[in-house]
């Protein structure tokens, strides 16, 4: 491929503390050759020139939690539709979840998923395998063998290892071989029969509630274990203020772990459920406005490391049911960045902080060479207009499923171009 130079760019790259107007030069192998205010068109006279028109240029987004649907749930999402949705949202690297059918818990499944992804996907895929075999919470997966095949992390996605002894063994074993454990934090006994936050809304709607204690107690337990068995441990998603206080106490103590939050929990609260909107049935559930504000603060203070889309495609049949029976989850990979930009526009977070949680932070946790535009990195680039107003319309989304949690929401900021290894793969 030909060299490219992206001129008139406002570059924000938290991995190198860069926030300046300049250009990005991409070499003929799709790597960043040089970047910044000192890069001039004259540096590469033969390069193809792309005028960025003062839009913002950031590293391609790394989404640490998305569900593909392949194999087994192709009617919800496949590699092709996920790729299109991701690229339209400026996401170039996606960590995929293993709760497919069959579950990704053995070496042959990993071969399949990697081959299939290579053939059908047009993004960087980083597959996870299940933490326990068949997501049963009983026996640990083959961490070593699966890692050697290219598995990036281990998670039971929407399930939590309930048995403390099992979890202790997993962490003990994982601490030795250095694999990443990504835990969904929920005590089933406390959350059973629950489908939304326990409080006034659950009382009014007559729905079973999930107390914040169900989340907090597992975080407390796992962090106690982590103290004994220091492995690479990541909390997939937190939803409440109370969980943050536990995280704060442990991070201050010097314990090393990382924490994620879903964009949904940062931009919605339980009142948005209104009159049984099943698209807002999420796990962890939406909680109080106080919790939402605390989570935003948690990002600001660095207690929360990453924002994920928690992209969970569900077809209409699964959602058109009485609330308690309806499927859980919402699509979100395409709207991840624009929705996150709300926190910049309403002045609750600095723009660079938002970008950091979407790029270099997840890349560092995953130990992948992504999320950065440093010289020599892959030229995965997201270009967006910070101000363009638009309204979310589920039917226009590229994902195969249309269950967006923010239907008709007015957003400000839209992705204009996405580059993958230097190739322009999406243009608005």
């Amino acid at each position: 491929m030909k060299e490219k130079i992206l001129i008139n760019a406002h570059i924000i790259d938290p991995s190198q503390g860069m926030d300046e107007k300049g250009s990005v030069l991409v070499d003929d192998k799709g790597k960043i050759k040089s970047i910044g205010k000192n890069v001039k068109k004259t540096d590469a006279p033969s390069a193809e020139v792309i005028d960025i028109k003062n839009y913002i240029v950031i590293p391609g987004i790394v989404d640490m939690k998305a569900f593909v649907g392949e194999p087994g749930f192709e009617y919800k999402e496949n590699f092709r539709t996920l790729s299109q949705a991701a690229l339209a949202g400026g996401v170039t690297s996606v960590v995929t979840m293993p709760n497919t059918k069959p579950i990704i818990d053995n070496v042959s499944m990993v071969d399949f998923i990697i081959r299939r992804g290579r053939d059908k996907a047009s993004i960087n895929l980083f597959p996870c395998a299940s933490l326990t075999r068949e997501i049963s919470g009983k026996e640990m997966s083959e961490f070593g063998l699966l890692s050697a095949k290219g598995i990036i992390g281990f998670t039971d996605v929407i399930k939590t290892v309930q048995n403390t002894e099992t979890m202790a063994r997993i962490m003990d074993y994982a601490s030795d071989i250095g694999v990443l454990i990504m835990q969904h934090v929920e005590d089933y006994e406390l959350s059973k029969n629950g489908c939304i936050n326990e409080g006034e809304v659950s009382t009014r709607l007559g729905l079973g509630g999930i107390s914040y204690i169900a989340e907090k107690i597992i975080i407390e337990r796992d962090l106690s274990l982590l103290n004994e068995f220091p492995c690479r441990y990541h909390v997939n998603q937190i939803s409440s203020k109370e969980s943050l206080s536990v995280i704060k106490r442990n991070k201050e103590k010097g314990l090393k772990f990382s924490v994620g939050v879903s964009i949904n929990n940062l931009s919605l609260n339980e009142n948005d459920i209104g009159d049984f909107k099943t698209f807002l049935k999420l796990s962890p559930p939406l909680r109080l406005e106080d919790d939402r504000i605390a989570l935003v603060e948690g990002i600001k203070s660095g207690l929360i490391d990453v924002i994920v889309s928690d992209h969970t495609p569900e077809d209409e049949e699964g959602k058109r049911l009485p609330f308690a029976q309806a499927a859980t989850g919402a699509v979100g990979i395409e709207t991840l960045l624009p929705l996150a930009l709300e926190m910049h526009h309403n002045e609750s977070l600095p723009l660079a902080k938002i970008i950091e949680t979407l790029t270099i932070n997840p890349a560092n946790i995953l130990k992948i060479n992504k999320g950065s535009l440093k010289k020599g990195s892959d030229a995965d680039i997201c270009v967006f207009d910070l101000d363009e107003p638009w309204m979310v319309n589920g039917d226009d989304l590229k994902s195969k499923s249309k269950n967006t949690s923010i239907e008709s929401r007015k957003l400000q900021g839209k992705v204009q171009m996405t580059f993958l290894a230097g190739e322009l793969v999406f243009k608005s």
Binding site: T203, L207, G209, D275, L321, P322, F323
Partner: protein, 314 residues
């Protein structure tokens, strides 16, 4: 959200009877006024009218019910409607599919009104989006049972002349009770002061936000109350331990003549039924016609449901 959706939501709330929460005070009073006119009719030898002649009423019961179902059945028939009752067993079909599939099927038969009881909160709301006729909620999960609250209100008005200014206690398993929720909304709306009394484990989260005072002590909670509504312990909805024993529950929360003395001198007792005698209420007290309104509740239930059918069956 979109403007278009908002207007449809406003339309639907008065088109269907989904819950007291969606009802305005005017709508509630209209139902009660209308119901009063049916009380004497129901006591007369000739009970049949033809207000709903030619209309089709379908009672769709996903949960077993004796009194609500027969009450709606009779109410429709007395107004001259063609009434069909369907008892949909859950074991036969997969949940959820049943509701939507049945809704589509029934809708094709052009009913004028569907009365639904369902074990899931919000099921009537979902149904109302899928059919072209009015939907009346006959109890959904733990959310609402609007006609029960309306008949309770009518019973109180019939005896006490009014609701405004009364003090009403609702006692027992508040957590699992849709009757309690509907009554809290309605009695508050009509100007009563509401106390809820029950063990902490059977009290819903943030219940005070619904505009009530909550108590765990019958003596304090019943103080100066004019009406004492007892609720059934819904053992079938309880998974895991909520109470040490029925014996202990009766000791602290069962309504006995002694505990009734904490309330106002002329306090009256109500119960939505079916009763667990000797668990939440002393059996003699339940049958004492001087203080118990239980039979009257059932009687006026038919009048209230006739009023609802007349108003919503357009």
């Amino acid at each position: 959200m979109a403007v278009q959706k908002k207007t449809s939501a406003i339309k639907s709330s008065s088109y269907h009877l989904l819950g007291i929460q969606n009802l305005s005070i005017l709508e509630a009073k209209k139902i009660l006024e209308e119901a009063k006119t049916f009380i004497s009719l129901n006591r007369s030898p000739s009970k049949k009218l033809d207000i709903l002649r030619g209309k089709t009423q379908i009672n769709l019961f996903f949960e077993p019910s004796t009194r609500t179902q027969s009450s709606f059945d009779l109410a429709g028939k007395r107004l001259g409607a063609d009434v069909m009752t369907m008892n949909v067993s859950n074991s036969a079909l997969k949940k959820g599919e049943t509701l939507m599939d049945t809704a589509m099927t029934l809708n094709a038969m052009h009913p004028d009104i569907i009365v639904i009881r369902h074990q899931d909160s919000g099921a009537p709301n979902l149904l109302s989006q899928k059919v072209n006729c009015a939907v009346v909620n006959a109890g959904d999960g733990q959310r609402e049972h609007p006609t029960q609250a309306l008949l309770d209100a009518l019973t109180i008005i019939n005896r006490k002349g009014k609701i405004e200014g009364l003090k009403i206690a609702i006692c027992g398993d508040i957590l699992h009770s849709r009757v309690a929720r509907s009554n809290i909304y309605l009695m508050n709306m009509l100007g009563a002061e509401v106390n809820v009394i029950g063990p902490k484990t059977l009290m819903p989260s943030s219940i005070e936000r619904l505009g009530v005072k909550s108590f765990t002590d019958m003596k304090k909670g019943l103080d100066k109350c004019d009406i004492v509504m007892m609720l059934r312990l819904q053992n079938e909805r309880m998974q895991g331990t909520f109470l040490p024993s029925k014996r202990e529950y009766y000791e602290f929360f069962g309504l006995t003549p002694e505990k009734l003395k904490f309330a106002s001198k002329d306090a009256l007792i109500m119960h939505p039924g079916p009763m667990n005698r000797g668990v939440e209420i002393d059996t003699k007290l339940a049958d004492d016609i001087n203080v118990s309104l239980v039979k009257e509740q059932v009687e006026l239930g038919v009048a209230v449901r006739m009023a609802c059918l007349k108003i919503y069956c357009k």
